[in-house]
Amino acid sequence: MGNQLLAVRNLKKYFPVKAGPFSGKSLILKAVDGVNMDIMKGETIGLVGESGCGKTTVGRCMLRLYEPDEGRIFIDPEKHTKAINIVEEFDAKRFALEDKIHSIEREIAGPKVLRKEIRSLLKQVHELKLKARQAGRRTDILSMGRDDMSKARKRLQMVFQDPWASLNPMMLVKDIIGEGPKEFGTHKGAALDKWVNELLDKVGLPRAASNRYPHEFSGGQRQRIGIARALSLTPSIIVCDEPVSALDVSIQAQVINLLIELQDDLDLTYIFIAHDLSVVQYVSDRISVMYLGKMVENANAKQLYKNPRHPYTISLMSSVPVADPEHKSEEIILEGDVPSPVSPPPGCTFHPRCRYAIDICRKEIPVLEKDKDGHVIACHNPPND
């Protein structure tokens, strides 16, 4: 621990969606709306939330599997403080300009002069974007060029959710695992075979597996193949997107143990995305709770369990069923569903389901605030205060 590996700043990813099956109009779905994260070396960050809260999108943006609309992801931020400062300066300027454009647009909708003004402002915005991209090309994953990006790709890998869909059925296991090293030229020929065997040993599969096809394996074994593939380029960060939720209970524990053991052996950093709170709680050092594209709480795992502070986290925790028939839970059951991220409620997005909602919650968006223990929440009226 100690040094920082990734710094995610103001990450936003919007998807255009059609307003209706026959409508030409498109709406914007704010899947991720301004997420900040700091990831230290060797730790496991848990990302939890209900389906549709944007946790998978965050993970995919980190590998640039989705191209985010806004934000920076700095790799090794401590080595590049200077560049980061420059980028952030440019960005701050750009945000100011964009705000100005919005305010002008809101006021008027017509005169030619003003349109011209907007046009020149837009040009400036574009220039600032390019400048920031140039400054951040060594450290910001999102503005890297081809060469830097391929270097970064080696360090960032992913384990996918569905072990049935994420392995190419036409490829042999050794080709699946060896594809990365071959592409990057890290291992060739006999060395590659040896490396694949080593990886198979590491994830607890027989070496004979290398000459078989994915369909010959069970779910747990497939997930092991997926993990071996992620390890093949000796990455430092692995994004695990629901790695165990498609697996049976008894296999789940095997895969979780494997992930933990590999982390100790290879000094890995995990971003662990899952909706199962007890699993996330078990593997994570720190946990971020997301709701409708925003982070609502961020704390270390123990704190979050002992003393959840955001009303959303509290009710989420209380609705996890306990494997004890005598357990009398005081379930704080959330009413209703997650609102549509296309038209999120104004103010705090959680207020329609929140029992502590007060007037301000309906108007203003709460910001993340840190308390003295490093426990961060975004709430106007946290309970027990």
Binding site: Q254, S278, A301, P321, L334
Partner: protein, 361 residues
């Protein structure tokens, strides 16, 4: 509470595939009392869903076939009914909530139509009456403005709402038995809690017997009175919910219980060192293979020589506690001796006893 409502006797459902037979359900016995909640736990492929499908007579034939056993509802055999008579039972006496609310509703009919279908068929309602009743049912399962919702199609509803519609459909004719096959598996925890609370309320109000099929032990703990644990087509343990969680006997049950992290667990011990989860090694046996001895031998930490020779019987160790394991064939003990990993929720006294047993063993 005391009358036997549904009885499964030695049920065997096999699937005849090309060149081999899969014994999906291989001799299951179960009695469900009136108003009782029974849980069936097991991993995918253990036969729990096929047991439910057999009760509903929905096993696809071919390749599936119920080759032996009987299913009695109030003493009347369901397997001997003609298909038309069986249709009167489905949805009326026994109804089912299917696993995936996304795929088990018909996408081309409105929700209202799908609920009223059963009402018109079984309770001779006119279309208008049935729609009115559907609105009442939707209200009962906690859907807001049901008058609007009845006209909507499944794709317009979220997962939680669809599952509520499924429950409304299942409850429509006030069945005596409701079979819920993984009703909450595809849902988020918050929605899961809503659905479970709803099912519990309805169950108590109408005194419906429920068979709750799931792989999630925690859900079972909060919902059922009796639990049946299945492995590779057979029942390996059956007991009251308290017994299953406080003193599981079969090594498989024990493994299942200890391999799930409980909220609040951490991969660190108190002194900061790493802790790993208890695991059941290996995977389910290949369903094609016919295993001579106990089916759990390949994964069992307590396997003995005789386990390979013949399959153990499902025996009582105590009142209402049945287990299929040679460890208990001679003696009935307070707690199993193989408690290497303490099971959560044991009382202090039981823990002490377990420790003693361990030293002795």
């Amino acid at each position: 509470m005391s009358n036997v409502l549904l009885e499964i006797q030695n049920l065997r459902t096999y699937f005849h595939m090309h060149g081999y037979t899969v014994r999906a359900v291989d001799g299951v016995d179960l009695q469900v009392m009136e108003g009782e909640n029974v849980g069936i736990v097991g991993e995918s492929g253990c036969g729990k869903s096929q047991t439910a499908m057999s009760i509903m007579r929905l096993v696809p034939d071919p390749p599936g076939e119920i080759i032996d056993g009987d299913i009695l509802l109030r003493g009347k055999s369901l397997l001997k009914l003609k298909e038309e008579e069986m249709r009167k039972v489905r949805g009326n006496d026994i109804s089912m909530i299917f696993q995936e609310p996304m795929t088990s509703l018909n996408p081309v009919f409105t929700v209202g139509y799908q609920i009223s279908e059963g009402l018109m068929l079984h309770r001779d309602m006119s279309k208008n009456e049935a729609i009115k009743e559907s609105i009442r049912l939707l209200k009962m399962v906690g859907i807001s403005d049901p008058e609007e919702r009845v006209k909507e199609y499944p794709f317009q509803l979220s997962g939680g709402l669809r599952q509520r519609v499924m429950i409304a459909m299942a409850m429509a004719c006030e069945p005596a038995v409701m079979i819920a096959d993984e009703p909450t598996t595809a849902l988020d925890v918050s929605i899961q809690a809503q659905i479970l609370r709803l099912m519990r309320d309805l169950q108590q109000k109408k005194n419906t017997a429920t068979m709750f099929i799931t792989h999630d032990l925690a859900v079972i703990a909060s919902f059922t009175q009796r639990v049946m644990v299945m492995y590779a087509g057979v029942v390996v343990e059956m007991a009251s919910v308290n017994d299953i969680f406080k003193k599981p006997l079969h090594p498989y049950t024990h493994g299942l219980l200890t391999s799930i992290p409980v909220l609040g667990d951490s991969k660190y011990r108190d002194d900061g060192s790493r802790r790993l989860l208890y695991t059941i090694p290996g995977t389910l046996p290949d369903p094609k293979r016919i295993i001579k001895g106990c089916r759990f031998t390949s994964r069992c930490p307590k396997v003995m020589k005789k386990c390979y020779e013949a399959e153990p019987e499902l025996v009582f160790t105590e009142k209402d506690h049945k287990v299929r394991c040679y460890l208990y064939s001679d003696t009935v003990r307070e707690t199993p001796a193989y408690l290497d990993v303490p099971v959560r929720g044991l009382s202090k006294k039981q823990k002490k006893q377990a420790k003693k047993d361990k030293i002795r063993g």
